[in-house]
Amino acid sequence: MSNILDSKIPEGNLNEKWTKYKSSVHLVNPANKRSLEIIVVGSGLAGSAAAASLAEMGYKVKCFCFQDSPRRAHSIAAQGGINAAKNYQNDGDSTYRLFYDTIKGGDYRAREGNVHRLAEVSSSIIDQCVAQGVPFAREYGGLLSNRSFGGTQVQRTFYAAGQTGQQLLLGAYSALERQIGMGQVKMYSRHEMLDVVTIDGKARGIIARDLVTGKLERHFGHAVLLCSGGYGNVFYLSTNAMGSNVTAAWKAHKRGAYMANPCYTQIHPTCIPRSGDHQSKLTLMSESLRNDGRIWVPAKKEDAEALRKGTLRPTQIKEEDRDYYLERRYPAFGNLVPRDVASRAAKERCDAGYGVNSTGEAVYLDFFFNMTEKYGRTEATKKGIENPSAAQLKEFGAGVIKEKYGNLFDMYKQITGVDPYEEPMQIYPAVHYTMGGLWVDYNLMTTVPGLYALGEANFSDHGANRLGASALMQGLADGYFVIPYTIGDYLADEIRTKAISTDHPAFAATEKDVEDRIQKLLNVKGTKSVDHFHKRLGKIMWNECGMARNIEGLKSAIADIKQLKVEFWSDVRVTGEANEFNQELEKAGRVADFIELGELMCTDALERNESCGGHFREEYQTDEGEALRDDVNFAFVSAWENLADGWKLHKEELKFENIKIAARSYK
Amino acid sequence: MNWISTFLKSSIGKKLLMGLTGLFLCTFLIVHLTGNLQLLKHDGGLAFNTYAVFMTTNPLIKFVSYGLYAIILFHAFWGLYLVAQNRKARPVQYAAYDGKANSKWSSRWMGVLGTIILAFLVLHMWNFWAQYKFGTVPYTQYERNLATGEVSFSPFTGEIKGKMEKFVDNQSGLEITIVKDLYIVVADGFKAGWLVLIYIISMAALSFHLVHGFSSAFQTLGVNNKKYNALIQNIGVGVFGIIIPILFAIMPVYFLFLN
């Protein structure tokens, strides 16, 4: 075991680690904070929260985002909610239970210490957000409302209709803007980080490109925080925003930061299916819909065929001819099994020939039963109607459904042209989140001193599968409540470091590297667009490193990606010039990095001879088709070091001292 | 008092002035209409002329009327200033702009409608106010039988002090009023069809101006409540957009056909 992978988890009892750490971590006094500069890359939940909180503490912060405003970071698109162990519903929730659910949900591939800390600070996040004016859903009594999400048996998810991510991000954004207004944060919108500058082995700044003028800029920082999100767009089609990319994290990786568990990808079960080759991205339908939607396919193959041809409507299929396969396979959790389980089950049914749309890649998410029997009947009772008609039940129930999910239903209709109040939704899994990311220790520091990774950009809390409503929790936990403490541990030793001039040779050399690469991209002057290569990469990744992987597929994928890389650098056409607003050039740089990442993901997936969470190796499954973990040989974090001629694997052993490691069952 | 100028320089302060003066002018319209409706009485203009004298001699009314002129001018020129300012906020215009898709025609043309009304006011003041004040307006003697209420009138060629003299002749039982006859100026003026047409067009402009302006002023004042929005909207359209402009427009038409 290489000792560079020291996770620095504090000693002591699990539930005292963080408290003790906070009381003993090095502090930086207020006067010194004023002369310490911190660079934050990314302005999503983690980035905005970190930039705002650190600025409030007195640090000088520079924040960068490639979007035209920090408010547009992709955290904004999260729909369903945010978990917190408040136990407001009196249903037995606790910090331990949230911790336990997260570890189990992550298929026992996350660090106990980090996850417990996450569960501990979860409550404070809700308090902080409410204080900022985040309009969470409330009950008539004025108290906060909760709903349940996959992988849990309590109601601990706080939400703001189907726009929770938006409201949380706008809260963090407002805190960030407040600091910008006060001059504590200098904001660089429409700037993309293109490299990390290291001096004497420590991260000391970044090279960023002003996306409007094309000018390269050098920025110094005593520490650099990467809050740049996940890399789901390596699959081309995903629920990520078009701009979401791995470039910041990948450049850090190239400068010495290890990439951990890159093959752990979350395929979200409830997305709107693909409609054709022109598709540029996939749209998620919130997991919260599984609270009231029942997932099914026809029990008879001939019905499925008729549905695919369009000669049969789903509403014509009788109750006994429907296969509610999640309820059948997992009676305890039913439609609320974790995402990886639900996704694989959908794939299994579709592969077996029961898919319901023209591509054969869709299952139904049906609200009819809950709309009429659950909500319709309750509403009828409230109105004092004893024997409501079917039409009345539907009318009353639709009202309740509209209240809960109105915007999602509208969005579905907008995209597909089908009214989900009348017909069940069609859904299919799509790439949604990447649990893997830069390896970080308990302080959220990567293997490069002074370089941190927060939120989806790091690997730390979700193991091999993330539970619903936990990404928002982790992003904000990292930004608001973890980094403000842990960064002191490093910066306390940096108070004597004066700001380094950006004329330093390391800045010049790194800038030269960036410039050379830009010129190289522009000078290929090939025949195919950047998107052409991106789509091809996506197809390889989806087919061979998607919901199910196997040894042959992964090997061929690695060979294909290597070939694709050669083709890219000899045949890509990047139009325009370096010194102007050039979206093709931006894309080209990102896709070049995705290609390299794709190879590493396949390498990681090939190396991990087990099935866990989002990583399902076909060779390793039970007779019933469930994932088969190998805790003897694979209870470790794979951390990949970038070398000139490939990658070197380092292993961080995972110790489970407070939780009994067991087969994950939702039956 | 720095805060007042700061407040009035703000975009919201500026439009508050438009809203408040606009609403004031709306109330003026009601007063003006009530007075002018005297024109439709069959008394040869006695009531109207008496009203005209009252309006131009009562010190309080005179004082208010100067305020009114000031407010009309302010509302007009402040509005034009705001239009100019608002145009500056979009230095490059759209090649395609589909305003009708998202807003009512009247709301987008307030500046133009207001300018038509301003031009009309100049004409209107020239037609009647200037004539009354500076022109040669004949005097008429009205004789009202106190017992029957019957009124007869004839031109008066002598001289009186001021604009009106009024006394009762006990012998004949007549109330005699000698008064500067604005009524005849009005009646003569509206013999011209083109002028009547201009008046009708102007009242149409006024109608559209108020259909938007009345309710808009409430929105500017911060009054937007689901309970009352319909009421405000209905008064804006019904009273200020339809009833008032039509009643105003009836007068020139009445004289056109009366003659």
Binding site: E56, D68, S69, R71, R72, I76, A77, S124, I126, Q128, V130, A131, G133, P135, A137, R138, Y140, Q167, S174, E177, G181, T239, A241, M242, H278, Q279, K281, T283, M411, Q414, I415, F481, H532, T575, G576, E580, F581 | S11, I12, K15, N86, R87, A89, R90, A95, A96, Y97, D98, G99, A101, N102, S103, K104, S107, M110, Q219, T220, L221, N224, N225
Partner: protein, 248 residues
């Protein structure tokens, strides 16, 4: 479907722009408007031409990046959607579509259809927040807020900051955007301590950015993809009056 386009092309902020004609064949009715632009750009790249620059990111109607003025209307002919949610089934074969950037002095053009909306950020920075440092908060349920009030605040908070309100307004006024934030925070008890300062600062910044003033045409709300209501503007006016006239 075949679509004819007239698209605003402008090299950079300083350059003069013009509408240029393009033809896109093989348009599927299931494509989003932006996917149709992807097809066009792919075509332009193959021909060696400069593809059209336009802002877009999430493509699911929430990030507020996309900003096309389509046939005279921000985000095109449908109500309640952003450009990325507009699908080609809303157009007919052979249609000619005029596409321009948002037009406002406060939103200078960066390139082609991309404009600089940082004025919105500066308005938020001037006061669109509640001053609460991380870690200062009390327990969330210590502050009950009635459901109706919370829902109303949420409706105001739904603004995505896309700028369609400014683009639609004949005066390029930003009142709907500013009032949505003022309203959200004015409706919540947490927002009260700074309410007066907030509205004064935000209106002041809005004016300084060069947006026009509101003449209550209602175009902003009609075109808002999130249906932000005009009552927000009335509320902001009230807040502004009370801050100026009744404050200290």
């Amino acid at each position: 479907m075949k679509i004819n386009l007239k698209v605003w092309r402008q090299k950079n902020n300083k350059a003069k722009g013009e509408l240029k004609d393009y033809k896109v064949d093989h348009v599927s009715p299931d494509m989003s408007f932006l996917e149709m632009f992807d097809v066009l750009n792919e075509d332009l790249i193959t021909k060696g031409d400069d593809p059209i620059t336009f802002d877009h990111d999430c493509r699911e109607g929430i990030c507020g990046s996309c900003s096309m003025h389509i046939n005279g209307r921000p985000h095109g002919p449908l109500a309640g959607v952003t450009t990325c949610q507009l699908h080609m089934r809303s157009f007919s074969d052979g249609d000619t579509i005029v596409v321009e950037p948002w037009r406002a002095g406060a939103f200078p053009v960066n390139k082609d259809l991309s404009v600089d909306r940082s004025a919105f950020d500066r308005i938020i920075a001037s006061g669109g927040f509640i001053s609460v440092n991380t870690g200062n908060a009390q327990d969330a349920n210590n502050l009950p807020i009635g459901k109706e009030q919370a829902d109303e605040a949420f409706m105001s908070a739904a603004c995505i900051g896309c700028g369609a309100c400014v683009a639609a307004c004949k005066n390029a006024s930003a009142m709907l955007f500013v009032s949505a934030k003022v309203s959200q925070l004015a409706l919540l008890p947490q927002g009260q301590p700074e309410a007066k300062m907030r509205v004064m600062a935000m209106v002041n910044q809005m004016d300084a950015e060069g947006f026009g003033s509101c003449t209550n045409t209602g175009a902003c709300s009609a075109e808002c993809p999130k249906g932000i209501d005009l009552s927000n503007i009335a509320r902001m006016n009230r807040e502004f009056f009370s801050a100026n006239l009744l404050g200290k």
